[in-house]
Symmetry: C2
Subunit: 449 residues, 2 copies
């Protein structure tokens, strides 16, 4: 073999490798640091530039350590201590196979809260403790009891979450073993570490915050969340922890939380699969100098809470497994709220729409098909479809002004809006999704092996 031809061969093969990699949606092929347990994590192209600077929430302390539950060489357990006076609200997955810790949290929130004594939340990644039978219930008890003892709290005030593989026994002893370290590390400034410890297939930690002017001082809100597969709307749809130093009684706090869950965390979908572990907790420590939240301050607080929830929800979609595009699906003019939701999720969950988005193909016919299969009332001749501001179809037909090249150019954007007006009545719904890429398949075909 001549030297020249070998060189040419190398160049040709290198080109081939590059093309195949591009086709694979840039699935990283290098073995992961933990011995190939998962594909290496390239940070989502839709990730924010950096983790935001979150305000300290007086009365909320955080700690995180590595307990080697599944992952090695990274933090996988976090603890939150909440000061006496803290009220807590929650929202959870509706899955009938929900995990032992979700059932435990729900039971604890169902009884009248003894807020005088403070509270704690302990969370692990790497194992969801779901479908683990009676042993799973015992593991929750072991973990929450250990925390209760270490922090001198009643067990009823210790909440827990677990996220990761389903059906594997949770090694509770690895968590209880690190409780002393966690307690020793508690600090009001350590929220970012907590956001990192709850990550599974997430490629970036997720945080958001807001400040509201209260009467007598500022009120702060800070939140963290994790995604990023098995995301679909059926309650909280992931792990989300929200904190505020506002003073708000538990029943009102629950009402505020419930009000915004539907339009935030219940309006996102990555893959239509609902987790067995979805948990959202909102904790109000009451440590702000401001007076208890009422009147106009309550309105401002609710608006700020809503904004933080929407921000975190969208961050979860931005980190959807394999995502390269953030897609907002806006449905208007539907016959009912239920119909608006049906159409929005039929589009947002359609594999054909999501693969077209991945391929930057303005294939609006698939949007029509998704509307058709949704079961919602629809009249072909009243439908209007837009990509962003581009009118694509109206009156049962491609719009005369629509040019395929405009649609194709629009699809190259990283953030897209698909707007559908049903032309019937006034109901509407907006949901967020991401594209379906070869990388999603690679991540989920390899998750455990």
């Amino acid at each position: 073999m001549a030297k020249g031809s070998a060189k040419a061969k190398v160049a040709k093969l290198k080109k081939k490798v590059a093309r195949l990699k591009a086709e694979l949606g840039a699935v990283a092929t290098a073995p992961a640091a933990d011995g190939g347990a998962k594909p290496a994590k390239a940070v989502s192209p839709l990730a924010p530039a950096s983790f935001p600077a979150l305000p300290v929430i007086a009365g909320a302390e955080f700690a995180s350590v590595g307990a080697g539950i599944k992952y090695q060489g990274r933090k996988d357990v976090m603890l939150i201590r909440l000061a006496p006076g803290t009220t807590i609200a929650g929202a959870f997955t509706r899955s009938s196979t929900r995990s032992a810790c979700v059932r435990d949290d729900q039971a604890k929130l169902a009884i009248r809260q003894d807020t005088g004594v403070g509270a704690a939340i302990i969370v692990n990644s790497g194992n969801s403790n779901a479908f683990t039978g009676k042993a799973g219930d015992k593991a929750v008890q072991d973990v929450t009891r250990a925390v209760a003892r270490a922090l001198d709290l009643p067990e009823a005030r210790v909440f827990s979450s677990s996220t990761g593989v389903i059906g594997e026994p949770l090694p509770a002893e690895r968590i209880t073993a690190v409780v002393p370290d966690l307690v020793a590390g508690l600090s009001e400034g350590a929220i970012k570490g907590a956001a990192q410890a709850i990550m599974t297939t997430d490629t970036f930690p997720k945080g958001a915050s807001a400040v509201v002017e209260g009467v007598g001082g500022p009120i702060h809100i800070a939140g963290i969340a994790k995604g990023s597969g098995m995301i679909a709307p059926d309650m909280a749809t992931m792990l989300v922890y929200l904190f505020t130093d506002a003073t708000i009684p538990a029943p009102r706090l629950q009402k505020m939380l419930s009000r915004y869950v539907d339009e935030s965390f219940n309006s996102i979908t990555v893959d239509s699969d609902t987790s067995t572990s979805d948990t959202l907790l909102l904790c109000a420590t009451g440590r702000s100098a401001a007076e208890p939240v009422t009147g106009d301050v309550a309105k401002a607080f609710e608006a700020a809470l809503r904004a933080v929830m929407l921000d975190l929800a969208r961050q979860v979609v931005r980190d959807g497994e394999g995502a390269t595009k953030l897609v907002e699906v806006r449905v208007t003019g539907a016959a009912s709220d239920e119909d608006a939701a049906k159409v929005a999720f039929a589009i947002a969950n359609s594999p054909l729409v999501k693969t077209a988005v991945a391929g930057e193909d303005p294939n609006w016919g698939r949007i029509v098909a998704a509307i058709g299969k949704s079961g919602a009332e629809a009249d072909r001749d009243r439908l209007t479809i837009r990509f962003g501001d581009i009118l694509v179809a109206e009156k049962g037909w491609r719009a005369p002004s629509y040019r395929e090249e405009d649609g194709a150019a629009y699809m190259k954007e990283p953030e897209l809006v698909i707007a559908v007006d049903m032309g019937l009545r006034d109901a509407k719904r907006t949901v967020w999704t991401c594209d379906l890429t070869a990388r999603y398949v690679a991540i989920n075909a390899d998750y455990r092996s």
Copy 2:
């Protein structure tokens, strides 16, 4: 560069190319014959060895030609002439955005059939004529009228189907232009060409048949079908044409067809997306020497019809876009028929279950999650999950006898059974699906571009 190192480099890069190709699920990267319009078609690994030898159905003639509707250099229009006396039954998509030809067929079947004069079916691939407004209705009229004139039939006895891209105007003139060629080519033996002409992303033509002993002679059944994306249960879910030489009045024929649609074509799903064009027509020419179908013969005929329908339905899944595994999901012990269907389809449509199957990962936790999100009544502690004959989980917990390596070995089979017993009451449902591979994404991200 030394010759040796170059050789090593080539070998290394070749290995890399092979690995990347494997990861891509063997997406063919060579440009397709039609100028790169779609990824080249490798025949599904689940395809039957060859197209079956189908019996001639007296009174049913077939012809197929290339009209260049979208594809070049292949057949894309087929015509079927049915002899006087033929009765026809139909089942169609329930999509609210269904195509113009589906609406036309439904209207024609809703009126009392004038069976004395015969009938015809004309089908094109490459364009679905869906969401094409009033122009779409006119295209259907143009095509069916041209066939009616050429074959001297009333327009009400000419049915049509179109499959392919949604939202593009159907070039009806290209179809009407080839009607004389089609008529000239009609032959009772040409059913295979018809099966080929209706293919879109299908990788093999689909056919099935049966023979029943009638009183006075044999009765034959032959059918053809096309898939293979946008397949989900909401009526017929694809194009299927069934023929028999039996003598059966139209209302009874419709009853027989409707009886088996649910357990065959409404029990398969490739991607949960429902087409706007799904059409199933069953035609009985009455040309068999056998007496009209009644009594025991009717029972035997129905059993044979059911078998042909199930066979074709499974062939569609075998040709699911990118499929490498055929998965039968058997749900038993559900609280109601509705619940059994909910659970079966929640599993069969779960992207996480389907990617795990693609990765040969016995990730039964994802089956648990799918059951949980289905909305069906479920009791964790009564659930039993099996892979084939392997007991995986029972009583809310992994079965003590289950070994991960047994599950992993089972997942390497090309045909899998996932069996779930809900342990509640007697309702059951079996559905078929395929895995979700990187190739599905590649096919659907590239379909139009």
